[in-house]
Amino acid sequence: MAELITYREAVAMALAQEMERDDTVYLIGEDVAAAGGVFKTTPGLLERFGERRVRDTPISEEAIVGAVMGAAMNGLRPVAEIMFSDFLATCWDLIANQIAKTRYMTDGQVALPLVIRTANGGGVRFGAQHSQSLENWAMSVPGLKVVAPSTPRDVIALMAASVRDPDPVIFFEHKGLFASRGEVPDGELVGRLGEASVVRSGSDATILALAAMVPKALQAADELSARGIEATVVDLRCLVPLDTRTILSAVAETGRVFTVEENPRLCGWGAEVVSIIVEEAFYDLDSPVVRITTDHIPLPASDILEDATIPSVTRIVDTVTRSLD
């Protein structure tokens, strides 16, 4: 029987599922144990798995990420929480220079089965240093897999896939989605990395979205439907590996493509996706591809300002409608 849970609860359920299955799975991070996480994504794990496997760390992001790297080299499958994705900047050497490159630089001698989970994204009025959408940072570094789920079900399925994956995964949990609810089936749930999901089908346009932009794209598609425009919505779910097959197939069926990206404009994931579409499916296109992104600015804290720059349902509807006129 399916159960209705929050995205936040799904994080703890996913970690519990994997920690129960595999006793080499450990969780460390700031406030993850006794406090259950500052976003309350890890409550109950300390009580269930004990203080050795669920462990609080000092505010030392380099130590946290370095520790999971070293532990992954030596037989654990550790999960680190970096509280806000913005803090990835403080340990980016460990992630981009060390973790991402180790397998290649050692010609396969050293495997790093680890997950770095982090709360990502805006819409919660935290300002420029606690609201960024930073999937693109990770996407740009060879050697990192990049996951950003939009539903509780995908949180569980893709976290399980990430923990079981033999390569390092950066797992972006969206702050704006923590309170959202969705159904999850009973029993173990394991997804696959690199599979996008067609969450709505329509023949007039394709909207490609990620994480918190997925529910907005879906709502926009409903409003567009009321105006007689039927849109396909694709939830990318993973940026690396990237499911270009599903993307190109949707492009071929609709001929019109829009990306909805929470990141600032330059070098967003949509830029890469659009370049692939243009190189490989140019003659399937009926109109220019349009990227709907946050402005190329640091995010403002004020709700009025933040809402005006992150892509909104209205902006998606207006952009698609205008483009199809």
Binding site: T24, G75, D167, L242
Partner: protein
């Protein structure tokens, strides 16, 4: 140097250490020659003069202990058991190199014997070593991680984060600062708030400040044995500052002329290899034993160099391999 005399290990161990130091020295000398011949590309950071640290520690470590070192890491990787011909092949960028030519001089790894990498971003490997020690505790393997770094690393954040975590978590990791007095081209004393960059920081982490003669292999062996035993018995981390000196400059491009002539002369007179030879001769090693080791090492290095020179260039097919665990590099379907 403020060090009590040590009894030292038995003669067999000392002869082994002597051989290790000679191997390291010849390996570095030939690396440099091959660089001048244009066969070693890029850059090299030689450990000539610092062999006693690597040899003393390597001799004291258990086979499954883990070593983490820096871009000045030829000595450590070699003495932890990397095959010399394949190590030299790596410097030449050949397919038989320990990393298939993808690592190079600054990124040597030989995981089969616990040489878990040379880290060329200063300080990054201290938390990584701590993490490997954490896994050793959780898995109950009894392994100890030993992390070598330069004096310059003591002023970077990762040093402090790793030490704090290692102490708080009581991890079996030995941090070894090879203080060769220069942070690249700059005297370490001129950019550091305390006189002893590692030992004076130990108190901040509740550790004893251990300052030892890094040019004395017996001292290094005894220091290593004590710290490793402490870690293995659950006594937590140690921080050791070994004072040593590199005979050459920071890297291949640096003639090291910023160092006073008199200082260089004094340290060359304290070259650990001839000093140790004299000590071993006085402790009962025969000329035949010592000379035998020396001859054997000459043959050993020639074989390694010949192996490397004969090794094939990497196939272009290897460029995009081993990004992922499936052996490939695909990022899309």
């Amino acid at each position: 140097m403020n060090v009590a005399a040590v009894a030292g290990p038995d003669l067999d161990t000392r002869l082994r250490i002597y051989r290790m130091m000679l191997e390291a020295r010849r390996f570095e000398e030939r690396s440099y020659q091959l660089f001048l011949e244009g066969l070693v590309k890029g850059t090299t950071h030689l450990g000539i003069g610092q062999e006693a640290v690597a040899a003393g520690f390597s001799a004291a470590m258990r086979a499954d202990d883990l070593t983490f070192c820096t871009y000045r890491g030829h000595n450590h990787t070699l003495l932890r058991g990397a095959p010399p011909g394949r190590l030299m092949s790596e410097l030449l960028g050949r397919s038989e190199g320990v990393c298939g030519g993808k690592g190079g001089s600054m990124h040597l790894t030989w995981a089969p014997t616990g040489a878990m990498g040379s880290y060329a971003i200063v300080g990054a490997h201290l938390p990584i070593a701590a993490g490997s020690a954490w896994a050793a505790v959780e898995r109950g393997t009894g392994q100890v991680a030993v992390c070598f770094f330069g004096d310059g690393a003591t002023n970077i954040g990762a040093f402090h984060e790793a030490l704090n975590l290692a102490v708080v978590w009581d991890l079996p990791v030995v941090f070894v600062c090879e203080n060769n007095l220069y942070m690249e081209y700059t005297p370490i004393g001129s950019v550091t708030a305390v006189e002893r960059p590692a030992a004076d920081r130990a108190a901040a982490y509740g550790l004893e400040g251990l300052l030892v003669d890094g040019n004395d292999p017996d001292v290094m062996y005894e220091t290593a044995s004590d710290a490793i035993a402490l870690a293995r018995e659950g006594g937590g981390p140690s921080l050791i500052e070994a004072i040593t000196y590199r005979h050459g400059g920071h890297s291949r491009a640096d003639p090291g002329t910023y160092r006073p002539d008199e200082e260089v002369r004094q340290w060359l007179a304290r070259d650990p290899i001839p000093m140790y030879r004299t000590r071993l001769a006085g402790a009962g090693a025969s000329e035949e034993q010592l000379g035998g080791i020396e001859q054997s090492v000459e043959a050993w290095i020639e074989a390694a160099v010949e192996e490397a020179k004969a090794a094939p260039e990497p196939s272009l097919d290897s460029i995009a391999t081993e990004v992922w665990a499936d052996g490939g590099s695909r990022w899309r379907n």
